[in-house]
Amino acid sequence: MSVLVLVDYNGDSLDEGSLSAITAALQIDSEVDLLIAGENIRGLAEATAKIKGVHKVLLADSPVYAHALAENIAPLVVKLAGSYQAVVASANSNGKNIAPRVAALLDSQQISEIITVVSPDTFRRPIYAGNAIATVQSADEKKVITVRATAFEKAAAEGGDAPIEAVDATEDAGLSRFVSVDLQQSGRADLSTAPIVVSGGRALGSPEKFHALIEGFADRVHAAVGASRAAVDAEYAPNDCQVGQTGKIVAPEVYIAVGISGAIQHLAGMKDSRKIAAINIDPEAPIFQIADIGLVGDLFEVMPELIEKF
């Protein structure tokens, strides 16, 4: 019995979280098939066929699958799931939207955001905002699993030569319709995958200061920009910059937290970073308890000085 991975993409490029999901799938079983669904995505299917270790690529090319509506994609996955022991997806916004719908239709209790494959039926996953790690064993015949991207290496994008098999499209469920999308065009590195992240908190005080001091420094060192929930709520930064339990989970090489106290919900999103640096005016801020290096100081004085040093 093999594993089916639902591959996600943004525009013309594969979602990097899907490459991590493939690595997790290969730890469950050596035979891993990919499903890629969308409209006019032959080129993407060819790219996925080159991913190392892939057995077969199933291509569902139809207008029905444009915009990844869960009501349309879930029946397709369920139709194909028959011969697989597990269905795996990245725990990104599409995976979180679609996978539970698939799981319920298969009468399976999904296992969300796994960080370790212990065995084909046993997995580790964080609970309580990352304050505990649970090891769970699934009794379901078919596992439905989402994978935390930062916990698994990405599968190599080259080195494979899998056959591509077109699959028939299911009907339009007719329940929902795409209206519009508003993507933040920053031109910066992607927050989820960038090796360096510079994050700002409420202490920045205004969108102007956030732009000058956080984005200014991030651009200087080619980093992605993150923000605490407080900074997003205060509209210093857009929603999709939020790092935390309820935003994005990141684990860059270097995470630089500026004016962020380090609430539980924020730490859940970044405490697996390789190195953490923190600047805060409060020496008692919880962020210093996990930072590898800390600087106690007024960010309005420190940041302009720091920017000059790079």
Partner: protein
């Protein structure tokens, strides 16, 4: 229209949970429990729709221990009309909650279900999607804006990279994200009023739903502890360290 809002009793979000030393789970004894923050947002949204005249009745449903009554009272103090508590001491999983909610939906026939996007204890983010699947309804997950018009609901969703708007046929299931609204503080008169609102108590068996867990928790452990590093005195030292780590212009 009629709205159902599922709500969950969870550890208060300000508290740091402790893992039991025997690794069997989380020690919740004597900890403050609250309404799951995303569910509070869901209730608030339903109440705002009622205040605009779009919604006639709001029913809360909770699956859990008898004490979940406290959280149902909180939701009714925000403005929900009545509650159903499906009482069990079992640890219920999202699939089972979705099945129980489906049974309630079949009985109450609401036009809309507004759930929270995830509970802050199990962090699953599944129940709303599973309910939509079991009902064969449309779903609008991670909503930051809802607009009802002409038997449809337009949902603006928070997705990776920005916002997406979709239009759903009603009935539908939507799940609330943080920025859907800011829940109100409940006033004392409303807390008192909520005491008089009805809570109907049921059991999972009443709906014929088997809630035997599918996932067995073998172990719960503390995450690896990070050691606090050093504090430096100057921006020079701080910058030098960052450069050592590979942060360069």
């Amino acid at each position: 229209m009629k709205v159902i809002v599922p709500v969950k009793r969870v550890i208060d979000y300000n508290l740091r949970p402790r893992v039991k030393t025997d690794g069997s789970g989380i020690d919740l004894s004597n900890l403050k429990m609250s309404l799951n923050p995303f569910d509070e947002i869901a209730v608030e949204e339903a109440v705002r729709m009622k205040e605009k005249g779009i919604v006639k009745e709001i029913i809360l449903v909770s699956v859990g221990v008898a004490k979940a009554q406290d959280q149902l009272r909180t939701g009714m103090a925000i403005g929900a009309d009545r509650s159903i508590l499906i009482e069990t001491d079992e640890n219920v999983e999202p699939l089972h909650v979705a099945k129980l909610l489906k049974a309630v939906v079949d009985q109450e026939k609401p036009d809309l279900v507004i759930a929270g996007k995830q509970a802050i204890d199990d962090d699953s983010n599944q129940t709303g999607q599973m309910l939509a699947a079991l009902l064969g309804w449309s779903q609008g997950c991670f909503a930051s804006k809802l607009t009802v018009a002409d038997n449809k609901i337009e949902v603006t969703r928070e997705i990776d990279g920005g916002l997406e708007t979709i239009s759903l046929n009603l009935p539908a299931v939507v799940t609330s994200d943080l920025r859907l609204n800011e829940p109100r503080f409940v006033s004392l008169p409303n807390i008192i009023k909520a005491r008089k609102k009805p809570i109907e108590t049921k059991k999972p068996e009443d709906f014929g739903v088997d809630i035997t867990p599918r996932l067995k928790t073998l172990k719960v452990e503390e995450p690896p502890v990070r050691q606090a590093g050093e504090k430096v005195e100057s921006v020079e030292e701080f910058a030098a360290k960052l450069k050592e780590w590979g942060v360069v212009a």
